[in-house]
Amino acid sequence: MASVNLKKVRKTFGRTEVVHGVDIDIEDGEFVVLVGPSGCGKSTLLRMIAGLEEITSGEIHIGDLLVNTVAPKQRDIAMVFQNYALYPHMTVFENMAFSMKLAGRGKREQRERVDEAARILGLEGYLDRYPRQLSGGQRQRVAMGRAIVRDPQVFLFDEPLSNLDAKLRVQMRTEIRELHQRLKTTSIYVTHDQIEAMTMADKIVVMNGGHVEQIGSPLELYDFPANLFVAGFIGSPAMNFLEGTLVTTSTGRGVRIAPDCVVSIESQQPDGHQVVLGVRPEHLVIKESHTDAGMANDTAGIEAEVIVTEPTGADTQVFCRVAGKELVAISRQRHLFSPGTRIRLEAQARHTCLFDSDTGQRL
């Protein structure tokens, strides 16, 4: 096991720079997820750590070793590929033993370590099969087995679950997590799926356009997103954003999102500041419909018109329109509003986030 440190890592393909000076510190035994939309440079970064792409500038350390010019096989890493990259002409056993065979390990050691990995992954009965004869989930396990038998310093996962169906994905998510808890090997996991990131990571690195947007634990990112991008990327359904101006009213500070609508918040910023107010769907409390007169007097509430109600069973998602913008609120209650119903939403002030509308940074 080892720590992994990236210092001002850059990558250019021809004249286009795709990774713009990234600093990430990964501690020994940590499970770190690199997450971001496609094209954000997360896979490139992983491939640079693996040694499959050259590092244009900056430094990558694995443990105490500066690996910039070290060949992949000497980095003591193992990688699980998106398409598994199993050798089709080798059996499961041969696939898993291939690295040991190349390293000239004895037949007995190969057998022992493959058997051990197969036991952990539940592949005992499949060692003589060819990859073609396995299901997607089994292939995925073989790919992980191939990584495990090498007992590497670092596991690298490149979107390993994206070829699986939704149910299997959830199951494998848990398995990978359990595997990490058992082996405690430093792991770097790339995905575009923020739910995978949230559920699996000790630490999430959110990337966008070749920059690191924020690094933190899943709940840190969820509760205290550093900027509009992270706020919008983490969480599903996504955070609601309302543009407005900071004002002070008789009831306290607020954001005026429409001429007749002010949302209460807590803020030290001066009045008149242009801001974006972010509220998670579950922090929008739905108040049952009142009389029009009653609603107009209540400045703490947001007047909204229901567009669609989506019950998921556990909770209900209510999509509604406020000042020309769409909002979504999640409620544990089983509301069934017909479209066009006017309701009142209350944003819980201590859970709201304020962002500068020019820079997108959190205030």
Partner: protein, 304 residues
Amino acid sequence: MNGRSLGGWLDNRNVLGMLFMLPGAAILVVFLTYPLGLGVWLGFTDAKVGRGGEWIGIENYQWLWDDSVFRLSIFNTFLYTVVASVIKFGLGLWLALLLNRHLPFKSFLRAIVLLPFIVPTVLSAIAFWWIYDAQFSVVSWTLVKLGLIDEYINFLGEPNLARASTIAANVWRGVPFVAICLLAGLQTISPTMYEAAAIDGATPWQQFRNVTLPMLSPIIAVVMTFSVLFTFTDFQLIWVLTRGGPINATHLMATLSFQRAIPGGALGEGAAIATAMIPFLLAAILFSYFGLQRRRWQQGGRDN
């Protein structure tokens, strides 16, 4: 009544199927089965050009059995096929590996490689004839000017030199086919295979040995079968270059068959020689059929 029964017939799946197969079957019979059958039949007759033959049983074969030229042609055919195929495979694989890299002007180079395959055989054979000419050979001229040899090489005049020269010409013509087919095969191998192998610690040679070669083997089998069949039945190149000479050193079964049958007029005997090629070709096809049988790793599905 009649029309209704015709319509009824056409509604029958089997009848309709037969009807659709008819054109294909007709073409096969007229252009493949009939000539083949005629050739085999002629081999059992004493037909001459301009005279229908009498059935003489296996007399032609008995006679050929003792014919040293015929035996020599079998030896030549095998030598030609084996040596040319091995060299074509080696060169073709090497070229394919080179072309599979990121080279400048990649598509241009790939087009160039195909050239020998596109040029009509007779045309390239004539070019080689000129290159191998005893007095005007450009190869000899160059070597003499470089001071490496003193006199011109008689490429097509000495038995073993002639064999080597015809094999070289055949290789030149056959390499593009092998190279392009193998290149197509190489391109089906996902780059992540090599990345996975590199992380597993494989050197470039080990990657070639453990990833490239096994994954290419199905295509190698197909390509080399075709290459062997083409080479075994080669005629044009030899006929233009040497006509089987000198002293029958380059006579292949195909050229000998033609020489005996058409210029020599002995249709029956020529047909017998051509027919004698069939067992060898069948053996090659059977060999590739069993060699080509899909390997276990290529089979889909599960085995339970």
